[in-house]
Every structure is written in C-alpha cells, then in structure tokens.
Symmetry: none
Subunit: 197 residues, 2 copies
C-alpha cells in the first residue's frame, strides 16, 4: 500500500467512475484499474461492488476512504510544516558604520525580511575595535568595515567594493582655493573623518 494508490482510490471512490478518475489523475483507465486491483489484492478485501457497469463502495471501501482522506491530509500537513522548518530563523547581530548603514541597510532589511520572516536582525554602530573577540564569542555575527584591509585569525574577511575617498571643504576654506592638495597641507588642517581602527 502506497500513498499513490490511496490517492487513486480516493478519487475513484468519490467519483464512482474509473474513467473519470483516470482523467482527473492524468492516468490511463487501465492504470487506475490495475492500482485498485493491486490494492484489493494486498488488503485481501473488495473495495468496490461491481454491479453491472456501475460501481459502489463496499463497507471495507467506505472504511478505507476515511483513512485515505486522513492520509492525504497528513501528507499536506507534512509539507506545510516542513516549509516552516526550512525557513531560516534566529537572530543576526551585525556591526556596521552608521554612514554605511544609513545608505544601504533599509532596502537590504526589507528584502531579507521578506525572504526570512522568522529571522531578526540587530545592528550596532561599528565603534569597537575588539572585532575578533566579539566575532569569536558570538556577541556579533558579522561586521562591515570601512578600511583598507583586515587580517584577523579565525575570521573570514571578504572585500565587497571600493569607495573613492573625497576631500570636501567650505567654499572659503584655504584648501578650496584650487591647486593640488598635499598630505603636508592635510596634516595642518582640521579634518572631520571616520575613525578607522
């Protein structure tokens, strides 16, 4: 006895018509007959009374129909429940510079939540230098950094993309006068910039 046979039996039992059942199941009528015959042989019981060219459920058929429906319901339940199990669930804690977060995070969060509704994301500003310890202890799961390069043992680092570094000054500022800006000139200026640990 297999679920395939029970499904076929259920359709035949509901329609009381082999040919129509075969159409609904996209099978040949002979295949439906064969499945029912094997089922009856295995269970050692007639499931249908063949009255002329009409068929009727036997008492055993009625009993089996109840079970067949329960089996099919359970089959659907399994698939539904497993679909929840396969959903990614849990919490991710992520360090990310606020300036990057402000620009990139909202659309990413939206798509992530749409795909994994049972997972939650937490963001923390990236002002802590003890990244490796935080990653290894599990306090954070992931970090985005604005930096040249990072080499940390036991931490996987992957460059995502490059960003141009721009010098921006007020119109009246001496550095805005035009001409090349040397690193010596920058040393004397007051700079507003991201700290890179």
């Amino acid at each position: 006895m297999e679920l395939r046979q029970l499904r076929t039996f259920r359709v035949v039992a509901e329609r009381l018509h082999f040919t129509q059942a075969a159409e609904e199941l996209h099978l040949a009528q002979s295949s439906v007959s064969a499945q029912i015959r094997l089922l009856e042989e295995e269970l050692g019981v007639a499931l249908f009374d063949r009255i002329g060219r009409r068929i009727l459920l036997t008492e055993a058929g009625e009993t089996l129909l109840q079970y067949a429906r329960r089996m099919e319901t359970m089959d659907r339940e399994i698939r539904h429940e497993l679909r929840q199990d396969e959903q990614i669930a849990g919490a991710l804690t992520i360090r990310i510079p606020e300036t990057v977060a402000a620009e990139c995070i909202p659309p990413v969060v939206e798509r992530f939540h749409a795909r994994h509704p049972r997972a939650t994301l937490s963001f923390i500003n990236c002002d802590d230098v003890r990244l490796r310890e935080e990653l290894n202890t599990g306090r954070i799961d992931l970090a985005f950094l604005l930096t040249d390069e990072v080499a940390l043992p036991n931490v996987t680092v992957e460059p995502l993309r490059s960003e141009p570094l721009m010098l921006v000054a007020a119109p009246g500022h001496p550095l805005a006068a035009g001409g090349a800006v040397t690193s010596a000139m920058l040393q004397e200026a007051t700079l507003l910039h991201m700290r890179v640990d």
Copy 2:
C-alpha cells in the same frame, strides 16, 4: 513521497545509522541512501545533518519523524480494521427439516461460526408450504427440502444429494412378514412419514 520512503526514513532516524537501517529493512545501504536523498529532494529540505561520518536529525527531520510514525500507525490501523470489515456479518434464517437438522447442522454451525464469528444463524422447522413468498420477502434466506423436485420462479434451486427411501416396520407388523411390498399394501397401512409439500 511514499509510505515505503517514510518507513525507511523512520528506521534510519531511529538508528541514526544508514548501514544498520539497511540491514533491518533488508535493503542495500546504497538503496537506503538513495531513498533518503530522493525524499530530501522532493521535500526540499535536509532531513539529516551529516557531521563527519555521524548523522543527526535536523529540525525538519524531527518533524517528519513524528508524521512518519503516525502514518505507519494509521497503516496498521487500516489493515486491522479492514480485517474486521471483510468478516461476514449479519443473520441468516434457514428452513430445514428437523430430521436433517438433527443430523447435519451441529458440525456445520461449528465450522461456520469459526469462520464467520460475526454472523448468526437461525433455523426454523420446514413445515410451511409458502416457501417462495418467505424467500422473496426475506423472512427466510435459505431452505433445505426433502423432496423430489421444486420449480419456483425467482428462486434458485440446487439438488444436493439423493437419500434412499426405506420402509421400516415393527418385527410383528404384517408388512414385516417378508416378501415384496406393493403400493396397494402401503395405502392401507398407517404410515409415519415426512410430509412433502
């Protein structure tokens, strides 16, 4: 997904060992692997975590195990319940001459009851001539007759066997004197005999 696959999965899940499960199921280990792989592909979910050469149930696997057990239980229930359904149940009412009943019925009833415990038999003495009406109205289901022949419309009649007709007399009776007995002699005698309608 078929019951065969669920049974295989259940055994693997309980033993957490493909090779041992294959032995229990009388299958080759490769067949067990194939069944589990197909099940995982169809459900779109990993059922086991392969940690080195150990296997563990995933969350989805735990869920499926519950269902697999319920399915197998239901399978057993079906077969058990159908075994009751296939038993012949009901009541048979039978007319039979008392003399025949006394000789033949006890062993027949014993065997019949052993084979069909849920069916009951009732016997009525065969002194009613309205057999056909009784059969057609369902008052009786079956009748045994001691007679030459019966021709009743809508009633199936089947000869079972022939019985010799014996003349028995007391030792001092005139008919016991010896010599041939003619029908004329019988007409004058007082006979104790079964009435044949």
